[in-house]
């Protein structure tokens, strides 16, 4: 896969675009599993992955600070993980708190429950990411990677990046590493949760199949709202 670009859509979400280097070729069953079709397929053959902004509330209720922090950390880690495919860690590092006053640790920690502050951090991460991948356009055109996407949830078959333990379990890996040594594979936990399945499920079917609350519980696992 090639990382072809990234942009902010009209809803303020980061959209990262990928293109299969051999998009014309039929997808084998194995490729289908690894390069999940669960992403949003654009007409050009690109796969667009949306990284949603982090919210301080869920269903009208304030979220716990640690959950908000985990979501922000996941966004940062995912974006740096993509960049590390091209550049060294010093060049991949994002600065989430740029433009925010962090001199008073206690005040700053308290501010992390406020949506404008979270939005600023999300904007910092995403705009810096877009700027950094613009700098490496030449590399992106030639360096190919393996990309693994997870099903977002039981109800939502669209693709998402893995959020946790991505150093040991990368979702993005240079093809300079021989395929037989690749670490890009689903974990047992993901397979058990059927997060490797990109099959769309009709809403009625999901509602029929799951007990009340199961969908939201599944969504909560991935922090999807």
């Amino acid at each position: 896969m090639l990382l072809t670009g990234a942009t902010i859509n009209d809803k303020g979400s980061l959209v990262v675009s990928f293109k299969d280097k051999s998009v014309q070729a039929p997808i084998s069953a194995e490729d289908d599993l690894l390069n999940s079709t669960a992403g949003v397929k654009a007409s050009s053959g690109e796969t667009n992955i949306i990284i949603w902004p982090v919210q301080v509330e869920s269903n009208g209720q304030p979220r716990e600070a640690k959950d908000i922090a985990n979501d922000l950390r996941a966004v940062r880690d995912q974006l740096e993980h993509l960049l590390l495919g091209y550049v060294t860690s010093d060049r991949a590092a994002l600065k989430p708190y740029e433009g925010l006053d962090t001199t008073n640790g206690a005040d700053f920690a308290a501010s992390l429950s406020k949506q404008p502050v979270i939005d600023k951090i999300y904007k910092n991460l995403t705009t810096q990411f877009i700027a950094k991948i613009a700098e490496i356009k030449d590399l992106r055109e030639v360096q190919t990677f393996r990309l693994l996407l997870l099903r977002r949830s039981v109800a939502n078959h669209y693709g998402a990046f893995r959020k946790n333990f991505i150093t040991d379990n990368p979702f993005w890996e240079s093809e300079q590493i021989p395929a037989e040594a690749s670490k890009v594979k689903f974990t047992t936990w993901e397979l058990n949760k059927k997060l490797n399945d990109g099959t769309p499920v009709a809403k009625a079917t999901v509602a029929d199949a799951l007990p009340t609350g199961a969908v939201s519980a599944a969504n909560d696992i991935l922090g999807i709202r």
Partner: protein
């Protein structure tokens, strides 16, 4: 005490076997046929190989040893060669001089000059045999290795990799034993690792057909 018996101190028998200097003087590393690897004093100083206090922020370095046949950017080289690069001891999966035990007060038990790192020995011996055709026969055989800075290799690698190296590591245990895994490193300072001398009459070096020429960019000083 028995009458008339006079105790005399035990006389320590002098070994008739010549003591072998474990650390090389002019070369950088000495590899014994047991797989034990010892650095020279200069090498320890130059690359900060010594172990530090357990809680020290300074961790010191070990080495990654790289077979050109397994690195993506060099696997096409007509003549295989070995490379070596200093990496922080805490970088994970470091091949040489990366592990020691610590005393209760946090001081390292081992001195890197005396430790004789063997954990990488089997793989090191295999590399030396396959790449440079070095085999050991008889007793107490060892081979000295030197680091050659070959700018054309280090510079080209740095440019080709953009500073990112996927260093091959052979799995030594478990169900995947023998397979290769790849560890990400950044901005490696790569040297070509070449045999310098063979200091033992009983040992032989058999140059294989693939190593009859000088390793790429290196001044091979193998004696046979």
């Amino acid at each position: 005490m028995l009458e008339g018996f006079e105790a005399t101190p035990n006389e320590k028998k002098e070994s008739t076997r010549a003591k072998i200097q474990r650390n090389p003087i002019t070369a950088d590393l000495r590899v014994f046929k047991t797989g034990a690897v010892y650095p020279s004093a200069d090498c320890v100083t130059s690359f900060n190989l010594q172990y530090h206090m357990k809680e020290s922020e300074v961790k010191g370095n070990g080495f990654d040893v790289i077979d050109s046949r397994e690195l993506q950017n060099t696997k096409g080289a007509a003549t295989p060669f070995l490379m070596i690069a200093p990496v922080s001891k805490d970088a994970g999966r470091v091949d040489l001089f990366n592990q020691t035990m610590f005393n209760e007060d946090g001081t390292p038990i081992a001195n890197v000059m005396d430790q004789g790192s063997t954990s990488f020995g089997e793989e090191m011996l295999r590399m030396l045999k396959e790449v440079y055709g070095i085999t050991f026969e008889g007793e107490d055989n060892f081979v000295d290795l030197t680091f050659e800075k070959v700018d054309v290799i280090s510079t080209q690698l740095q440019n080709a990799t953009n500073g990112i190296y996927y260093v091959p590591k052979r799995v030594t245990r478990g169900p995947l034993k023998g397979t290769m895994q790849y560890t990400r490193r950044e901005n490696l300072d790569i040297y070509v690792l070449v045999p310098a001398n063979l200091v033992n009459d009983n040992a032989t070096i058999t140059k294989t057909a693939t190593t009859t020429t000088t390793p790429v960019g290196a001044n091979s000083t193998v004696n046979s």
